[in-house]
Structures are given as structure tokens and as C-alpha cells.
Symmetry: C2
Subunit: 437 residues, 2 copies
Amino acid sequence: MEPLKIGLLGWGTVGCGVIKILAENRELIKNRLGVDIVLKRVADIDLERERPVEVGRDVLTTNVDDVLENPEIDIVVELIGGIEPAMSFIKKALEHGKHVVTANKALLAQHGNELFEFARRKERIIAYEASVAGGIPFIKSLREGLAANRITTVFGILNGTANFILTRMKESGLSFHEALKEAQDRGYAEADPTLDIEGIDTAHKLAITSAIAFNTPIAFDKIYVEGISALDPLDIQFGGEFGYSLKLLAIGRATEEGLELRVHPTFIPSDHVLAGVRGAYNAVHIHGDAVGHVMLYGLGAGMMPTGSAVVADIMDLARDILNGVHVRLPYLGSYELKQLPVKPMEKVITTYYFRFSAVDQPGVLSKISGILGKNNISIAAVIQKGRRVGGAVPIVMLTHEALEESVQKALDEIDKLDVVKAKTQIIRIENLSTDRK
Amino acid sequence: MEPLKIGLLGWGTVGCGVIKILAENRELIKNRLGVDIVLKRVADIDLERERPVEVGRDVLTTNVDDVLENPEIDIVVELIGGIEPAMSFIKKALEHGKHVVTANKALLAQHGNELFEFARRKERIIAYEASVAGGIPFIKSLREGLAANRITTVFGILNGTANFILTRMKESGLSFHEALKEAQDRGYAEADPTLDIEGIDTAHKLAITSAIAFNTPIAFDKIYVEGISALDPLDIQFGGEFGYSLKLLAIGRATEEGLELRVHPTFIPSDHVLAGVRGAYNAVHIHGDAVGHVMLYGLGAGMMPTGSAVVADIMDLARDILNGVHVRLPYLGSYELKQLPVKPMEKVITTYYFRFSAVDQPGVLSKISGILGKNNISIAAVIQKGRRVGGAVPIVMLTHEALEESVQKALDEIDKLDVVKAKTQIIRIENLSTDRK
């Protein structure tokens, strides 16, 4: 049978992974597919930089149209990242009748609805397994493997950089900045780590995930996002004493009042499987009405894990091409997507961890708890950490379920008290207590 | 579009799950598939027994041919279990041009090679997601999502009953028989629990899994199998003190000298993600050359989780039928399966936990360690638990890597010593130390 021909846009880290896998596992892939896959062209603006894998001179090009307009190429793999020119290149590839594989979560989170509609009209596929959770076959599991389920919740640890930093802060008591520095030294964090540490990358992935899970268009702009850069190892330690572990969690939840879509540092029970996800690992924990709780775990980034997902997509597309199938699955898993309301953050009800920096003198706790009570926030536990008469000490408090709006109002008032010496630290808790079967 | 028509063989627990999911999530499934799925006939020898879900009288039949020979039915779902008559029914369904979905791991483990060859000649699919790890989309992940990888190891907790029993023994110090009784009372274990507790069900699933992972025909008969019925909670406790957790582990490993395929109680490091798999949950931990370590976790049995996997298979098949595709994937993931040698258990090299019951008197340890040394077994740690001068006390020992053959030889000799009062307990250790990124 005629080999299938691939064109690659972007000879970067993931591109090198794809090239390496296609070369090293060529026979194995051919045996699983029934046909050979040939890397026809690789386009990049810089062909001189040192890379970990070699590509023949006749394959390399600086002219993107050598890929996009190449009549021999069946599948275009976009690994440039960012919005433009990636979006224009993808559209052009689709216009030229090519199927597309992409790992570009920022692009899909922000322009996925438009791109999928564009591809649908062209009767071409955009495959994007590598855009969420790297090497973990998560998109396939959600869109196909769990397709019989009404999904009720999605909890994700979707950024390995952030999880590495939190793991180091917890296990070695490092400050956020020390842990970030270590992540950068090890190559887990970029020079500008904003997307990773401020939760934006996690939100990109939650946007894609929740659209599939809840049969709704991608709604990146509606996600509440809070990063990890303001965290103190002290809170990780205090939370640990209450049996909680801190994770940068992506939360998607279908409720009667609309979807909850949020990304923020979250305490989860330390004996929950998600709490055991250490270092640069990712995991997604899903609840479906039939299957119950499912978790998928693995490396969410890196040359080879992401390459594994890209090549899996290529192989999936190859099967469709060989069978003359145009679009086997609806892009986001359902043919009719229903616009669902997203619950504004103020309306979210959850439980909270507070750390007040309050003067150690009689009557302080009464003032704080008075304000909380007035705002319908009921206290589940409170501990003063240490004594320092007349000076500020941490007072750690856990609440019962409370409304975010009320919490923000109460903390505004509390932080204005004379006896409160610094802004109160607030960390939301998810009491995942579900896998006890 | 014409609805797709399903015929069900076996109105049991999983059958009820499938019926319930198809009814309750009908609209959602139609939206994901683009076509309606209709349950046309349900065949069972007993239609009178009380069930948790209702089926219309016109759908029910005691005549299996109302399903197998029904020209309207596209997909036959076999949920009878066991070898015969399930195998004959599946063949007849294939002969009548139907695709087949089955959850029957015993049948596939023992006759899968023959059945897949039969189906291949008929150009029909046998889908079997539900046969391994229940609701977890594991077969799909392995056969498609990780298809770009050369798989090097598979570690599975594949039997919820056994894992529930071990969890209760660990967390509450129950004896094996007490924990089994509790599992039976809760409906997790059958009246005759042999398949679950003796590791046979786990071996069935390992047989299927390892064939896909290593591109080789199913080789159930070559698997070394040891169950959990001879375990003592004492060893779970002692292992815990060394930082190990005990699991009934399915192990598949590709080595230069052939495949290791074994099922036995295994100590794994307590901080490994697999150690956190509690109760009736299942998990599979895979290493692929590109993706690195991946774990999938969820419920491996039960009406609804297994139903979820069966309906996912039905949906997959429906897409193929709609697209006119006959067999989208090779049955075991590769077109050419290569017969690989399976390493005999005697040739396996691993590390060991021993508990000797030895008389507490001078010179005993020297005798034991002398025999071990003579057999090239080197000791990593040894602790005598308690003192009872002149009586028998447990001596717990961990070894460095040793050859199984030598270990059996040494223990035979040791158990014959006058100073050794009971058969030595031996538990193999897998020092999974891999997810530390």
C-alpha cells in the first residue's frame, strides 16, 4: 500500500520527538497500521539551530507552502504553538484538503470553535490529543472510551511545571521562587513561566476538556483562573496537618445552575489518588454516571510524551484515510453542542482554608468569627499556630460550605481590622471523598 | 438515519447495566454518534428472575437464534461469560455477519487467538474493552492511544475482589478469611471466589493485555499464577515497615530473554501511585518508550462500569458500520503477531521478602544465611521480630536480586532445618521507582 505522507510545521522540541518516534518505531507503527508513514517535509524558519535529531536536507524547508500546498502530503502536523501564524497555517492546510494534527492548546482554547467549524465545512479532521495532558491518551478516553457516560465532574492536574513547583515546596519546604528557579534549571519551566504558574495553560486545557465532557462549545473566557505564584510553603504545611495536599487544580463540574469552570490552588484530601501525583506528572480524574471515578495519569509535557500523542493522532488519521472516512468523530465529541451557562465565581459554593495574620491578644478571634458569622460562613476548625503575645501569629481556619461572594466580602472586612496585620491567605478546598469503594 | 440495532445475550448484571445506560443516556449517545441505538432483542434462558431493570416482553426471548439469526440486528453483545455456549454463539453471530462485543475475558484468554482468526476471515469485529479493567478505557488506550510506543512493562491491579481483600487485611488487620467473608457480604466476591482470589481472573486479563502490549499471540497457559489465599496480615504489616504495600500484581515485561508474564502477590513501594489503589479499584501502569509511565485507574467490575465499556464498544462499532468500515483495527493491535518466548518462572530474577519461622537461639541466622549464600542469594536487610528464647519467632529478610530457581532451592533446604518451624513465607518485590520525575 502507498505510504502516508506527513508534513511537519515546527522543528522544535515536540517536532523532534515526533521525528524520533516515526524513525525509531517505524516497523512497529507499520505493523499496527498496515501502512508505512513517511515524513515528507519539515518546515521551520530556523534550520541552523542545533537539534537532538537529524533531518535530511531534502526534507527540510523554510517555506511553509512546501508543506501546506504539497499535493503529496496527507496530514499536516502543526507544532509551532501560539495563535498566529499557526491558525492561518492550519486553515490553509485544511483548504488544501489536508487533515491536521495539533498540540496547540492556546489556539484551540481561544479559537477552537471557529477552527472546528472551518474544518467541518472542509470535511477534514483536526486531531488534538497532544493538546491536553501530553502523552496521556485522555482526549481519546473522554471522547470515545467514556462516550456512554454523562460526565459530572472533571478534576485535572494539567500543568507539570506547576505541579513540580508545588511538590518541591511541599517536600522540601522551598519558597515558590526557589522552587521555580529549580524548575527552570531543570528545564521544566521556561524563562517566562507566566502561562504555567499563573494557571493560564491549565485553563487552556480545561477549556478543551470541559467542552468535550459537557457537550458545550469551548468557553475559555468564562474560566476563573488563579495561579500559584502567591503561595507560601507555610500553607502547604498547615493544610497537610489537616490532611490536605495542595494542587493547582482544573475543576469542571456540571451543576443545576450551570457549569463550574475554575483553575486555582486547591486543597484535596491527602489520601485521594490525585494527591499522589508528584513532580512533573499530570492526571485527570473524571466522574461519569455509568463508569464512576476514573483517573488517567502520566507525563503531560516533553519531547517524547507529547510526541507519543501526536503520532497516535497521525495513526488514527491514517486509519481514517485508508478507510475513506472523512470525519469519524465530531470534533468536540458531540454533533450538537449546547451553550451552557457558566456559574460566575461569586456564586460558587465550596469550603475554604483561611490563614489570618492576627495579633495574639484576647478578643481577636471573636472579631474575626463575628464577621464570618454575619456573612453566613460557619467555622469547621480553627487553630492558632504558636504564641507571640502582642505580635502577629497565623490563625488557620477551615470553613463549612460557603458562598464565594460572602467569603470575599467577609475577608475584605476582616483584612481592614487593626488586629489583622497582612492580607488573609485563602485556599479553596475540594473534599474529594469519592474513591472509597 | 436508520437506528442501529443491538441484540444482547445474557440478561445478567452487566446486561442490566448496558440496558440502563442505553435507556438513560439515549439522547446523549445519539448526539455523540449521530444515530440512535435500539435494543432489539435480549436473550436469556431465565426470563422470570427478578432484575434491577425492566425489558419489554417483545424484546425478551429464550431463543438465542432470535438474536443470532435476526437479520435486523447489527451488533451482538455477548454477556453470558464462560467458554461454552458463549464461544459457539459468538461464532454463529459472526457467521451471520454481525459484529460482536464481549466482556468475556476467560474466553478470550483461552480461545482468543482462534476467535480473532475466525472473525478476521468473516471480516467482522470482536470488540472487548470490557474484558480488561472494566470501565477503564484501557484496551482503547493501549491499542490506539499508545500505539506509537514500544511497550516495555505492564503492571496491573486487575481484580477488584482481590484488591478489596488486601486493602481490608492491611487497613484493619483482618485475616484473609475474614476479609473474604466481608467481600462476599458486600457482593464484591462470589460464593465460589476461586477465579478472583487464586489470580486466575487476573491472569486472563494479563493474557489479553500482554498480547496487545507486546505484539504477540495470547499466551494464557504460559502465565505463572499465584493467588492471595495463603497470605497472612503479618506480612502486610512487616512489609509496610520496610516501605512496601502488597498487591496482587499482573506483571508483563519484555526482556532480552523473552517475556515475563506472572501474577502473584507483590510488594511495591508504598509511595508509588499503584500503592494508592484501594478497595475494589483497578489500575494499569504501563511504560512505553516514548510516553514513559502512564497509569489508568477506575472500577474494574460491576454493572455500570462494565456497562460503560460495553456501550463504548457498541458506539465504536456503530461508527464503523455507519462509515462502511469492516475492521478498523487489527484485533490485538498489530497485523503480524510474533510468537515470543515466555521466560519460565525459574529463570525470573527479582528481589524477595522472606519470613522465616525460626527458633530463637544462637546460630540460626548463620545457618539460614549460609544456605542463601551458597545459592547466590545476597541479603539486603534482616530483622528478627520480637524475642522468644527457645520458641519460634518471625525473621524477616529482604534480598538483593536473585534467581527464582535458586530461591526455591534454598528455601527447600531451609524449610528442612530443625530450627525452622513452619514453611517460609515468600513474597516477591517489584522495586518500581520510576515516577520520580
